[in-house]
């Protein structure tokens, strides 16, 4: 266990979020975690802080303040100019040892998934990966991290009773960010930097993948196709339907594996999470690994030819029928009305 030190009681802030600003404005997961962290912090009677490492990070710091951060722990330093997992691990772990947060959250982004296991290992604490819910248990006060377990067949509630901090990574899109408040003010702390390990990776050049249409995670309407859609030609009808409804198309693992949709459209535990106003899920059975990515949707309509398919348990409206036939009818009807 960690020993107390002279910094521990400075401006108590026990819920921390890692500020992952790569692809900022598209990648909103840090803002979503600040909102969730703030709710957890208020239950614990404390504040939410964001750790921001890098060079020229001012604009991200200000965005996090506008979206609810109470405290910013920042290092604006040329040595941290590119995301480097070893350097970031060294800095974040040393700051945890100084300030002793209770909870430390990060987005389950490519970098969050690389960074957090290393920090957890360094601090000899637990980490729940790819969480789909985070709560404080009102009776015990425990921080309950819900994560898919046993290959995703179960959702497990994980607690870390002894070691601190309690660390979790969370999928983008699970929580809702707070609105931008330009009047917000926060405490800014520049903790000392530890001796940094030598940089082993040199970033030669960055190339950004071309953005495809509207982001799936921000879409108000999402049409998802599963294995039951049956064929590439049938799957293309999902795009027609999405076009008519001003939405985006998502896919389950078998649909991606069949080549009907790209990996970037995969929803679920190993893909994206969405929270649209309307989600229509067609020819999907409702496996937990998939539904982990659609739990935040406001209204879910499911189409499946098997009336006992688990997806109907989650749907607000269920249609028992053939995927292709229902798709064709919907497109025809919308074309007639719009």
């Amino acid at each position: 266990m960690l020993k107390r030190n002279r910094y521990m009681d400075r401006g108590t802030c026990l819920v921390w979020v890692f500020g992952d600003y790569a692809d900022y404005f598209q990648n909103r997961v840090t803002l979503q975690l600040i909102a969730k962290g703030k709710a957890l912090a208020s239950e614990l009677g404390t504040r939410v802080g964001v750790v921001v490492l890098g060079e020229d990070i001012g604009q991200y710091v200000m965005e996090y303040v506008a979206h609810g951060a109470d405290v910013i722990y920042a290092a604006d330093n040329n040595a941290l100019k590119d995301y480097d997992v070893e350097l970031f691990t060294a800095v974040a772990a040393s700051w945890v040892e100084i300030f002793r947060p209770e909870i430390f959250l990060a987005g389950a982004t490519a970098f969050g998934r690389e960074l957090f296991p290393r920090i957890a290992k360094r601090l000899r604490t637990g980490l729940s990966a790819d969480c789909v819910a985070l709560e404080i248990d009102r009776e015990t006060g425990a921080f309950v991290q819900t994560t898919p377990a046993f290959g995703g067949d179960l959702l497990a509630d994980v607690v870390t009773p002894v070691m601190r901090p309690q660390m979790a990574t969370v999928h983008p899109g699970i929580f809702r960010e707070l609105p931008h408040d330009p009047f917000a003010l926060a405490e800014l702390i520049h903790p000392p930097l530890p001796n940094l390990p030598e940089r082993k990776i040199e970033v030669v050049r960055r190339r950004k993948e071309k953005a495809r249409r509207a982001s799936l995670t921000d879409a108000g309407v999402v049409i998802v196709g599963g294995k039951g859609v049956g064929s590439r030609a049938n799957f293309d009808k999902l795009f027609q339907l999405a076009e008519l409804l001003g939405g985006e198309v998502g896919a389950t693992r078998p649909a991606v594996n069949a080549g009907w949709a790209g990996e970037e459209r995969l929803l679920g535990q190993t893909g994206k999470s969405v929270r649209p106003r309307l989600l229509i899920t067609i020819g999907t059975s409702g496996a937990l690994q998939y539904t982990a990515g659609i739990r935040g949707s406001e209204t879910v309509i499911a189409v499946n030819r098997d009336h006992s398919a688990p997806i109907f348990g989650l749907a607000d409206l269920g249609i028992v029928g053939d995927a292709d036939r229902i798709l064709s009818l919907l497109i025809e009807e919308l074309n007639r009305r719009l």
Partner: protein, 159 residues
């Protein structure tokens, strides 16, 4: 390891000074009739031009100018105030830069940085150039988390 430095930060506009963001700061007393001061005022949402005031001297302690909210009010040494697309530029008649401000605009906010060297009425360095940014010398600055409400020396005299 060096110590912890802390302050406040605004969601809307900050000054980058001594390697930290600050929503506003004050060095010296704008209410004094003669002494050095530098006031980088707190901006509220809706305001997008930083308000800088100050009474600046040269390294011998001779007065150069007095600026109130970005306007040259006293100019005994024939200094030059020049607006730039990103802020303003104050220089001596010789062309030597006294202070330059640069405001960067982001989609949701602004950060203003300084460059130059400022001295007080005793010729003591108060703001120094460090690499591409500026650093306050000494520990006598006050952080502002609301717009400055005090008066300026001349107003006090007239009141």
């Amino acid at each position: 390891m060096e110590g912890i430095r802390s302050g406040a930060v605004s969601a809307h506009h900050n000054y980058m000074i001594s390697g930290m963001l600050r929503p506003g700061f004050l060095v010296g007393d704008p209410g004094s009739a003669k002494g050095f001061y530098l006031l980088a005022d707190f901006l509220l949402p809706g305001e997008n031009t930083p308000r800088i005031s100050g009474r600046f001297f040269d390294e011998r302690g001779d007065m150069l100018l007095e600026l109130t909210w970005n306007r040259l009010m006293l100019d005994p040494a024939d200094c030059l105030y020049r607006p730039t697309p990103y802020g303003f530029h104050l220089s001596k008649s010789s062309g030597e830069i006294i202070l330059e401000t640069t405001t960067r605009r982001f989609p949701n906010g602004y950060i203003t940085s300084f460059s130059g060297r400022l001295y007080d009425e005793k010729g003591v360095l108060k703001l120094d150039q460090e690499g591409s940014s500026a650093r306050l010398v000494g520990n006598d600055s006050i952080m502002l988390t609301a717009p400055y409400q005090g008066c300026f020396g001349k107003e006090k005299k007239n009141a």
